[in-house]
Symmetry: C2
Subunit: 454 residues, 2 copies
């Protein structure tokens, strides 16, 4: 849906509700995809929203509901009757129900649970016990389970009878009589086997599974590395309790990427979206890093004060401090960015540390020379400083780039080794370190080459 | 597989090949998952690699082959006979074949094409014509196609006969006699319908499809937004030509994330992994940004030179330039990071510009005050500078944070509006802008408050 259409539809719906043209509003609404309807609902005032929600047939209503943000879900739950609530819940996929309940305040959770059937309620309570970012909280209970001693013919009957409530039937999960996971069998394999074959004969035992408490990032890494579409979740006795499907892993991958990007930008990660977070929350996620970095930047101030004699005898030198600091910071964060991303994608391992140092050193020689040469030309031709000053600045620049690139390449690896998130070593921290080093080089060189101060 | 096991297995395999214990090597190798075998192969010398590859049964060999990096694939193709090559190609999924051929040098492409059957060759040539990052180059040709006038019974026979060669059968694609795409039908729906129902009666016509030349990032966004598992690709006459499955979209999403992260770290994005890229290539991807940023950092130098009288009368002021610059840069890049990520995830739209300015302004008041207060304390108690100098520095800091956060919030939105990748507005560029602004504020305030220079 285009942006223009979006606002036009939103406006039309508002007008129709106001003029009580409900059947027209219903037609217009149902013409949209449920995901788009959810997006429209996010922008509506509460009374219009609840009214329109109640106009939709229950299947669509439930699907739209699963795509809504939790604050809008809450407003709807508060606006509908118990009977309507029970109908929505009945149509929702189990994992969507759990996602929704996890975000509701306690009083609404009570009301929601009251309106689900006892079996579902028991299962919900069980799943809610798993830690938030665990495999258990990610899994669905609507998967196709087959017993290992069934025949293909029986399995097909089973599948035809039950498949509509399942999230996926492409892969079926095979268990023993005591529900211990035996392996998987694809629907392709079932459909192409003879009717009297037992599932046991065609089961693939060489599969991946995870425990309920496994961290979701480990799950996502397995999906990516082994190109999985679904993966069984088992309890401590290897009994099958649920299945994670790739669509839920997609969200985890985006979450992990966001987390890395936020940390690299010196923001404490949070799962809430920017527009929905309060000013206070957003400030809270930023202030700590800013304070830490501001205080560590004092080291650079300390270095400058130590060399204030050098600076007083030649104030001109101060004019090149920002360029040196920025270029060093940028050179370092380029290296850090590539290594952090490589580590996240599994393309780089900590065992590659030596290769990285060698590579970054070579790159920094190349890049540093080019930058120093360009800068030398600019200093002599445009700024018209003396040759010795220009040489001091350019050698400092060259050394800074080398130090920056090696720090940038090495610190993320070091963090990974120490089981710290390598993303922390991104630009802000690298910048602070490189600043201190580059200023020291600059002033020491100035003292030596220009015979001033010290 | 653990890192330790990895090296042990690698070593054992090398030793077994050396001692010509081939059957032992084969057993050890086949005990691993094809993805892990591929990883082992990446680390092996060429002769061991080709030898072990030829020991594997053809199904495993093909699967391992599809997981290898293109340089290793090339070494294998060069090391096997035409007959072996034909066997590998025969077992490969069509989209893996295309991926592999796209990376091969021309002479090998010829040899590869010679060893595929004529139909496959024709299809490969057709798909190779699509632009590299297009929907056409991403799609598979191994999908389940049903005709709209088939009955469910016929469809089930079709599926049982052909499903083994298909990448997915969960969703079947329905076409007319002239191959025009009519819609999709899930296997669940087929299996739960009566045998004499025609496909036409149960087809879902309300689906998404893309043209062959559509950009892969658009495809990935559709998959994410509408939680799709597969999507048909059509030609200009709406005839079905292929299907994109979610596993291939996962790679695109990771690619897009990498691209954003690289641009935010001031590295020109590239698809090659760090370790496989040459020093020269890596330097090439970094030098341009470094040059641009170095030259734009000259503006800050220019500002300092303009105010050199202020600085000569109080060299102490120079000591706080790095802290001001760094804190401004960090404050700005925090905001830019959040907005860039929000835009990439679709949580923030350009229409939210006004909300963002208001929010960033409020945040910057809060964060700026805290930073200024902490800094004031530090300046007076630790650095023991005079009150007026401390006040000058803290007011500059406060103003810098405000400017930085508003620039950081607004520039990515501006870029998006101008159809430029917002990631470009991340820390390095923000830093340069904020540096110039913060230094000007600092010197102007110093002149006014401290009555020096100017």
């Amino acid at each position: 849906m285009q942006v223009k259409d979006f606002y036009k539809t939103l406006e039309d719906l508002g007008r129709m509700v106001e003029e009580r043209q409900f059947s027209q509003a219903r037609t217009l609404l149902l013409d949209e995809n449920p995901v788009d309807i959810a997006e429209l609902f996010e922008e509506m005032p509460e009374n219009t929203l609840v009214l329109l929600f109640r106009l939709m047939p229950k299947e669509t209503a439930s699907e739209v509901f699963s795509h809504l943000d939790s604050d809008v879900q809450q407003r709807i739950v508060e606006g509908v009757t118990d009977k309507e609530l029970a109908t929505i819940l009945d149509e929702l996929f189990f994992d969507d129900t759990v996602d929704f309940i996890e975000e509701m305040p306690a009083n609404l959770v009570k009301r929601v649970l009251k309106n689900t059937d006892p079996t579902t309620r028991r299962l919900i309570n069980q799943v809610l016990k798993y830690p938030e970012d665990s495999a258990g909280s990610l899994m669905t209970l609507e998967f196709m389970e087959l017993k290992k001693d069934e025949t293909v013919a029986q399995a097909i009957v089973d599948i035809r009878r039950n498949s509509l409530e399942k999230e996926t039937i492409e892969t079926c999960f095979v268990t023993s009589a005591t529900r211990v996971l035996e392996g998987t069998v694809t629907l392709q394999n079932i459909l192409t086997s003879r009717d009297d074959t037992t599932i046991q004969e065609i089961v693939d035992k060489d599969i991946f599974s995870v425990g309920t408490t496994e961290d979701q990032s480990v799950v996502a890494d397995l999906f990516k590395k082994y190109e999985l579409l679904s993966m069984p979740v088992v309890d401590s006795e290897n009994r099958l309790v649920g299945v994670i499907t790739i669509d839920d892993v997609l969200d985890v991958i985006e979450e992990e990427n966001s987390e890395d990007i936020y940390i690299m930008g010196a923001v404490t990660p949070s799962e809430d979206s920017y527009l929905k977070s309060s000013v206070f929350e957003l400030a809270k996620h930023r202030i700590l890093w800013l304070l830490v970095l501001m205080i560590s930047a004092s080291i650079t101030g300390f270095i400058i004060r130590r060399f204030d004699e050098v600076l007083s005898s030649m104030v001109l030198l101060a004019a090149y401090i920002p360029m040196l600091m920025d270029t060093g910071g940028n050179a370092g964060s380029q290296s850090a960015t590539m290594i952090i991303r490589g580590l996240a994608l599994g393309e780089i391992k900590t065992r590659d540390a030596f290769k990285i140092i060698r590579k970054e050193f070579a790159i920094s020689l190349l890049v540093g020379s080019v930058l120093a040469m360009v800068n030398l030309g600019k200093l002599l031709l445009l700024d018209r400083v003396s040759l010795m000053v220009a040489v001091t600045i350019c050698i400092s620049l060259f050394c800074t780039v080398i130090v920056a690139k090696i720090c940038g390449g090495l610190l993320p690896i070091l963090a990974e080794k120490c089981k710290v998130d390598p993303a922390i070593m991104a630009s802000p921290l690298i910048t602070t370190i490189v600043d201190a080093v580059s200023l020291t080089i600059y002033f020491v060189l100035a003292t030596a080459i220009l015979h001033i101060g010290g």
